[in-house]
């Protein structure tokens, strides 16, 4: 997979801080404009779903693309974040943002628990352990009926409280646009922090673990501790996505967090280009929008996820990031020729 390296350089390290600043400005501009362009309910809903999926994808990418740990159970952290925050709000009347913090923390702790397996297991074994973990979480949500109401689900979950300063309402999250700004803003902030992190020595450390653990240890890297860290961060972000999802959709059923959801997130990361942060963002957007565009095909549209995943692994293992890199390089060469 040496292709991903080049993508990483072109899209990550080689870009100057001015180019990055411009990139973030563009991102803010795009986020602000999008709901104004897509002004019907249907597309505004999809925009927020995109933002939630971006959160899920960059969280998984941090674990999979950087630390190299094949986590097939990302849906579990997503679900735990959603259910823990919602149950705190519904059953104990905890204020939204406090429940949000609790949901994020709980998902992070669950990730830390799973990482203890990652410390001992490698490759396929970890993949199956994480899959097993996701199955167990889904089954618990399904069967602990007294707490989660099982397959019937929880209904009528309120959106986050309106943001009020000095008696004036700044943002009312019953409004789709405001909700999109909230989630997209949070996703942008998460992206910014992760990007700072992977361009610091932490980036080299995680990549070193991904490439060769024995070698990493010979340089003083405590692989176990860093795996715990990567899982903790990645799963906490998934937990945040879960909290937003619950309050956005207003309904929670366990099947939203079945293992197929983990595969969808995996597809977003792989199609976008694992090991780059920007790739999975576009992967998430593409794989959220594409099935909507293909709605006319009925159930066949869901084949897209599988086909995209297989096709990318076989032909462009660096994903969209690699493809963009190749195009960029060709343009550059043509210009300098």
């Amino acid at each position: 997979m040496s292709e991903t390296v080049f993508a990483q350089q072109w899209l990550g390290k080689a870009t100057s801080s001015r180019a990055r600043f411009l990139g973030y400005l563009t991102a803010v501009a795009v986020i602000v404009t999008l709901p104004l362009v897509f002004n019907d309910t249907y597309w505004r809903t999809n925009l927020t779903v995109c933002a939630i999926n971006v959160l899920l994808a960059i969280g998984l990418d941090f674990i999979l693309g950087y630390a190299g740990q094949l986590n097939l159970g990302h849906s579990a952290f997503y679900g735990l974040g959603a259910y823990v925050s919602t149950l705190l709000i519904v059953k104990l009347a905890v204020p939204f943002w406090l429940a949000f913090v609790a949901g994020v923390a709980f998902a992070g702790l669950a990730g830390t628990f799973l990482s203890l397996f990652a410390v001992r297991l490698r490759g396929h074994y970890l993949a199956i352990a994480s899959l097993g973990f996701a199955v167990i979480v889904h089954q618990i949500l399904l069967n602990w009926i007294s707490l989660t109401q099982g397959p019937l689900g929880i209904y009528g979950i309120a959106p986050p409280p309106a943001l009020v300063v000095d008696g004036t309402v700044i943002a009312d999250f019953r409004n789709l646009t405001a909700f999109f700004y909230l989630v997209a803003g949070f996703a942008l902030l998460s992206f910014l922090l992760l990007s700072q992190l992977v361009r610091s020595p932490v980036g080299e450390t995680l990549t070193a673990i991904r490439e060769d653990e024995v070698s990493a240890a010979s340089l003083g890297i405590n692989a176990a501790a860093w795996k715990v860290f990567a899982f903790g961060v990645g799963s906490a972000i998934a937990g945040a996505a879960g909290c937003f999802y619950a309050s956005f959709v207003g309904t929670l059923v366990p099947d939203a967090f079945f293992i197929t959801e983990a595969f969808n997130i995996l597809a977003m990361v792989i199609v976008g280009g694992m090991g780059t942060l920007i790739g999975p963002v576009f992967g998430a957007v593409l794989l959220t929008i594409l099935p909507e565009v293909l709605r006319g095909l009925g159930d066949l549209r869901l084949v897209v996820y599988g086909a995209a995943l297989t096709f990318v692994v076989l032909f462009i293992p660096g994903g969209m990031a690699q493809a963009a890199n190749a195009v960029g390089e060709r343009l550059w060469r043509r210009r300098s020729a």
């Binding site: 040496s2 020595p201 080299e204 990549t207 490439e211 024995v214 070698s215 010979s218 340089l219 890297i221």
Partner: protein, 264 residues
């Protein structure tokens, strides 16, 4: 007990006592005791399967010994995990090259600075002056190390695309980035041509002048004869003989093993 260091070099930096490691009933390393004096170039030679690499793995912490002990500058290492030993100043290269193949040569070396970063925790998220200074320092020092191994022109090539000889040199540079007091070099000459071997020996000597103690594991006896201060000969996991190069060349047991043809 092992023979004491021969005067010139002073206190032992590394001391092993009755070190033992078994793999499913096979004694890969058996009752090995030796001292490595500070500032020495200590060579370990022996045929394939003599336990040389296992010894390196025991010293660097990849394996835990089944019995015996080893101490480094007075600190007991026996149960210390590999990554902590680096902080005490032990670094190594690998017999079978283990670079981070997707990272560039430069980034491989920069990864070696892991235990030497001086960045306040919050600056990992908000990059400030200390962060920038640390990054620049790592980059400059990594370039110097690449220059030292003669690879400054290859800094931005992914490690996986380098030639075999370059990969060996890059592993050396990466190990040096940890700023070791004791450097373990495992069969560095394997796959190198004569000119590359000469360049390697020069660099090992200049490392010693810089104050680094070196343990050099080699298959090829001729190579270590003119660089090592002391040589330990291993066979079947045991110590066959230990002494100066001159003593090794005269020792009947070693000669017998040589005439047996295996050590060549």
């Amino acid at each position: 007990m092992s023979a004491t260091a021969d005067g010139a070099a002073g206190e032992p930096l590394l001391r092993t006592q009755e070190l033992q490691k078994n793999f499913g009933g096979v004694k890969a390393v058996s009752e090995i005791s030796f001292d490595v004096p500070m500032g020495a170039i200590f060579a370990v030679i022996g045929p394939n399967g003599a336990g040389k690499s296992t010894l390196i793995n025991l010293i660097s912490g990849v394996y835990r010994p089944d019995a015996g002990s080893l101490s480094f500058d007075g600190v007991d290492l026996s149960t210390m995990p590999a990554h902590l030993r680096v902080r005490f100043g032990i670094a190594r290269t690998f017999q079978k090259i283990r670079l981070f193949r997707q990272l560039t040569a430069l980034d491989n070396v920069i990864a070696g600075f892991h235990v030497h970063h001086k960045i306040p925790a919050w600056q990992y998220l908000v990059h400030g002056a200390a962060f920038t200074a640390d990054r620049r320092r790592c980059r400059d020092q990594a370039m110097q190390l690449l220059e030292f191994v003669g690879m400054s022109g290859r800094a931005h090539v992914p490690a996986g695309s380098l030639s075999y000889g370059e990969q060996r040199m890059l592993e050396l540079a990466r190990a040096l980035a940890t700023k070791p007091r004791l450097l373990l070099i495992d069969e560095p000459a394997a796959g190198l041509n004569a000119a590359e071997v000469d360049g390697l020996l020069d660099r090992i000597r200049s490392l010693r002048h810089g104050g680094t103690t070196v343990i050099l594991v080699e298959h090829n006896m001729d190579l270590v004869m003119n660089v090592a201060d002391r040589i330990m000969v291993m066979e079947y996991g045991r110590r066959l003989f230990e002494g100066t190069p001159a003593e090794v060349q005269k020792n009947p047991a070693v000669i017998a093993a040589y005439l047996g043809g295996e050590l060549l």
